[in-house]
Symmetry: C2
Subunit: 205 residues, 2 copies
């Protein structure tokens, strides 16, 4: 990677951690630039104009180009390396789990962690409070599906650690901060340990 890599991030965000973990597994140096999402630092005119018009982090800066969307940033870093399977079906199957993560997992498990642990239930809007039950059920269903998938395999896609494992690890390993129980999911717990034991692993801040 010849161009300098800068991660625009909030270290509390699992979406940001995914990119840091991918870079760590690949031994890629990553400069970090911090924002506080609780203080609206990703909604300033300057951020919207220069970094991401969608007002969100993480954004991976590659030289003078900016790449939003955590899973796309992981793909950029892993493209052509060992974290992206060389087999065509396995590569698409990895993406299948990465899309599952953004559609079925993150909006439930990451959102409840943010609402209950960082914002605080007392500070939620009525609409947010009304959604806790359905997000709890959908998050539990996502964890259950993951646990069943891991019953007879070590990794989500292909036969080795891939980006699918990294992006699902990010919010699963801190799911208890959002009130989700992991102890009933034995396969999932063993997979969490397995990811944490891989050479190059770095913990969330």
């Amino acid at each position: 990677m010849s161009e300098k890599l800068v991660l625009h991030e909030d270290p509390r965000s699992g979406n940001c951690y995914k990119i840091r973990l991918t870079a760590a597994f690949l031994g890629l140096p990553l400069e970090r630039k911090f924002y506080d999402i609780m203080k609206g630092e990703t909604r300033t005119a300057d951020f919207l104009a220069k970094v991401n018009s969608n007002g969100r982090i993480p954004v991976l800066q590659i030289g003078d180009r900016f790449l939003p969307e955590s899973n796309a940033a992981c793909f950029y870093l892993g493209d052509g390396a060992r974290l992206v399977p060389a087999d065509r079906f396995d590569r698409a199957d990895m993406l299948r789990w990465m899309f599952f993560e953004q559609y079925n997992h993150e909006p439930n498990i990451a959102t409840l962690r943010f609402w209950l642990y960082y914002v605080g239930e007392a500070n939620l809007s009525d609409e947010q409070r009304g959604l806790i039950g359905s997000k709890r059920a959908a998050g539990d269903a996502a964890l259950e599906l993951m646990d069943r998938h891991l019953a007879d395999r070590d990794w989500f896609a292909g036969t080795a650690l891939s980006l699918a494992d990294i992006v699902l690890y990010a919010y699963t390993h801190v799911a208890e901060m959002g009130g989700f129980g992991l102890s009933g999911h034995a396969h999932l717990c063993r997979w969490l340990d397995r990811v944490g034991e891989q050479p190059g692993f770095v913990p969330m801040d």
Copy 2:
């Protein structure tokens, strides 16, 4: 592609149409197997065991293997072909828009189309009815962001039609069925026409 391709789908679903449109642009033959999601045909024990444990369509069957998640299925079909940019940054930038589609676009624009056009407002739960306002605002914001992105470019990623355009086209071109207005987004409307004029284009059923 040597293995037979079968699309497990409901033709009213834009997520299914994405895969059909990708195959059409690439000239790939695709057998179609129909399910009625309104009748729960993707939640049967047989479907869950054989096709997708997540109980959802579309699923792309490749020989005897099954690939859920619409955008992953599009990637499988397009991998190595002209709909996936050869440049590394552009390829990741294409995925950036595909993740944006599943996170910011589909849960708002496709969901309101489904709720208001197919289910009917009178048949929604109180929780669903309470979400219409925030999904309307988030969907409008997604369309506005797309329109601004297209102000000085013809395609979402790279310099030609890619999977990013196909997956965003699917629910954008029928957004009015969910009560979204497109006429104020001139760049977006021209891009919709542009996609429809590409050789190989097929309309939604």
